[in-house]
């Protein structure tokens, strides 16, 4: 009897490992393919001869990417939006989440309700567009920072963190010492909440780096385009192929194909560099959210 069961378990585990390995490969191989292509000879890429290892190793793709003024501008714009946007978002999120986490604050229930309601119902695309227009933000950098500055989800996560991990006794002691609310926030709450602030900052930073929709709506000036919008124009709309003679066309076409792979890598590397760090903290963030949800 025992032996039979162990036999079944062994077969079962083989199945589990096969399943997980398949999963692993399905996710991993496309990424490896992109990486390999980005280092390959343009002709090999165009002819579809690249599999999982670079064919005719070259950095031509990256050279072209780094020489394109449009891409460089997009990259530095995205860096700006991400740094400034994350800072603004983080400050605003703490400024609302901390007071709302304080049980003795009159009116906090009503304010929290007002905030959560915006998760359930929204004015819509055009009504929001009109607000941005009315405020004179259209075609300015602020249009990509302010309209999405606070995420309700992040406020909820921060609120539950403050409530659970800042003991009431600490606050009472600080009150006895005559410390004001702001001083308590600055010198006790924030130092104790560093992991939380890291999670939230990373969430905002990645969202900001990856977004293109607001730029599509609000920005007309190409000098202000974030990288993702530049990517969309090059990768999806296939811009930049201009009419010229046949051989030149072919060469350009090959380079354009290669460029796409290199561009994908360049746009994704910043996120992947912080990924191991993010993964650890994000899991925690998901947990806090899951407990609430």
């Amino acid at each position: 009897m025992k032996i039979k069961e162990r036999g079944f378990d062994r077969v079962f585990m083989v199945g589990v490992y096969i399943l997980l390995t398949t999963f692993l490969l399905v996710v991993l191989l496309p990424l490896v393919y992109i990486l390999a292509s980005s280092f390959s000879d343009p002709r090999a890429v165009s002819a579809g001869r690249v599999a999982l290892w670079p064919v005719g190793f070259t950095l031509d793709g990256y050279r072209t990417v780094l020489q394109d003024p449009q891409i460089l501008t997009g990259f530095s714009n995205s860096l700006f939006y991400t740094v400034v946007g994350t800072t603004v978002s983080l400050i605003l999120t703490v400024a609302i989440a901390y007071p709302l986490s304080r049980k003795d604050l009159w009116g906090r229930g009503a304010i929290a309700l007002g905030i959560v309601f915006t998760m359930l119902f929204a004015g819509g695309l055009i009504p929001t567009y009109l607000v941005v227009q009315e405020l004179g933000l259209l075609n300015t950098r602020w249009a990509l920072i302010l309209p999405q500055a606070i995420g309700v989800w992040q406020v909820i996560i921060a609120m539950s963190f403050f409530r659970v991990s800042i003991p009431d006794e600490l606050y009472e002691a600080a009150q006895l010492d005559g410390s004001s609310d702001l001083r308590f926030l600055r010198s006790v709450v924030i130092p104790l909440s560093k992991p939380l602030l890291a999670v939230i900052a990373l969430m905002y930073a990645i969202t900001q780096w990856n977004s293109y929709f607001d730029a599509l709506l609000y920005i007309r000036n190409p000098d202000l385009y974030p990288l993702q919008l530049v990517l969309r124009n090059i990768l999806i709309l296939n811009q930049s192929v201009t009419g010229m003679d046949a051989t030149e066309m072919l060469r350009r076409q090959e380079l354009a194909d290669l460029l796409k792979y290199s561009l994908i890598v360049v746009a994704t590397v910043p996120v992947m560099l912080i990924y191991p760090f993010v993964a650890r903290y994000f899991t925690k963030g998901v947990m806090i959210g899951a407990v609430k949800g």
Binding site: M1, G48, W106, I126, V131, D181, N210, Y212, L231
Partner: protein, 325 residues
């Protein structure tokens, strides 16, 4: 050391449940006096919600008006429900509704079970290194931008460069232009979505699995249960509450499917299935500059979504004793 009683901290929620307005007013005044700094701190975030969330809600009134730039939101003439009627009478309406609904339902059906299977399988693995590698790799695509995921999809499926046509060639099938074939749009959308999010979604189930009482497994061992029986009788009941909440949330959000990805995967040839309400709203509003019509469509979608969420919440509360909020 003097331990004088602390200046009695206000009772939790006292201001909210005050029996008389008089008492409520007093609590409010006291709270304001004691915590004016906190109220001051909240001003900027509250201004944010008023400006960027509530102001748009009042602007949505243009759905009932003939908006024009000169007269502004409140100065334009009222038009009643004409923009809604125009949308409902439009021959594209039924198609849009179907596209939106079918796409979301398909996303939900595909992206619900797969993370559960992934988490259950990972939970069986005892090799730390293997487990961690699978988790790290499958989690990673979640952080790749939509633009990049769509670009990769297009590169793979393009008949000229793509791997897909090479694979078809092996079986002697001529290359297919998947991207311009309307029938493929939903599959491409859904499965690239699963590729991107399955690892991330599995994390929540992993957490639920790690919270299961270990004595249950010991009891199962004593009873001589095999692994499949353990999964069936312990793991699945253990993650059921989490799974229920996630499923309910998914159903409630079925009309709230995002604009970003569908818009990027769209082209003139696959429009008959790829045009959904959010992308149509964008087209009508910003490309055709028909603000009132677009606001009406957006409002219609928001209301349906709100109704769905609230009813799903009520049903869940009745069925499981546990709602969404």
């Amino acid at each position: 050391m003097v331990t004088a009683p602390a200046p009695a901290p206000a009772q939790p929620g006292r201001g909210l449940t005050a029996p008389s307005t008089h008492k409520g007013m007093r609590a409010a005044r006291r709270s304001l006096r004691m915590h004016w700094q906190l109220y001051l701190l909240m001003l900027a975030p509250i201004a944010y919600f008023v400006l960027f969330k509530y102001w748009p809600m009042t602007n949505a009134v243009i759905a009932f008006k003939d908006y024009n730039v000169v007269d502004g939101v409140w100065g334009s003439d009222w038009s009643g429900f004409r923009h809604f009627e125009r949308f409902f009478d439009n021959p594209v309406f039924v198609n849009l509704l179907r596209n939106t609904f079918v796409l979301s339902a398909y996303v939900l059906l595909a992206s619900f079970p797969i993370p559960i299977i992934l988490a259950l399988a990972l939970n069986e693995v005892r090799l730390k290194f293997f487990k961690r590698t699978v988790q790290m790799v499958t989690y990673a695509p979640y952080f790749i931008s939509t633009v990049v995921v769509v670009s990769m999809t297009i590169l793979f499926l393009s008949p000229r460069l793509g791997l897909a046509s090479d694979a078809l060639a092996i079986f002697g099938i001529g290359s297919i232009d998947f991207l311009s074939e309307p029938d493929f749009f939903r599959h491409i959308y859904v499965w690239s979505d699963v590729w991107q999010t399955a690892g991330y979604s599995a994390v929540i189930y992993m957490a639920a699995l790690s919270g299961i009482d270990p004595t249950l497994y010991e009891a199962a061992k004593v009873d001589g249960a095999n692994r499949l029986q353990k999964i069936w009788n312990i793991d699945i009941p253990g993650i059921l509450p989490t799974a229920t909440v996630i499923l309910i949330l998914g159903v409630g959000n079925v009309m709230a499917i995002g604009f970003e990805k569908a818009f990027l995967l769209q082209n003139t040839l696959n429009m008959s299935q790829s045009e959904i309400i959010p992308t149509y709203t964008y087209r009508i509003g910003l490309l055709n500059a028909d603000f009132s019509q677009a606001a009406a469509i957006g409002l219609f979608n928001s209301v349906i979504n709100l109704v769905l969420l609230v009813s799903v919440h009520l049903i869940a509360k009745r069925a499981t004793g546990r709602g969404l909020w």
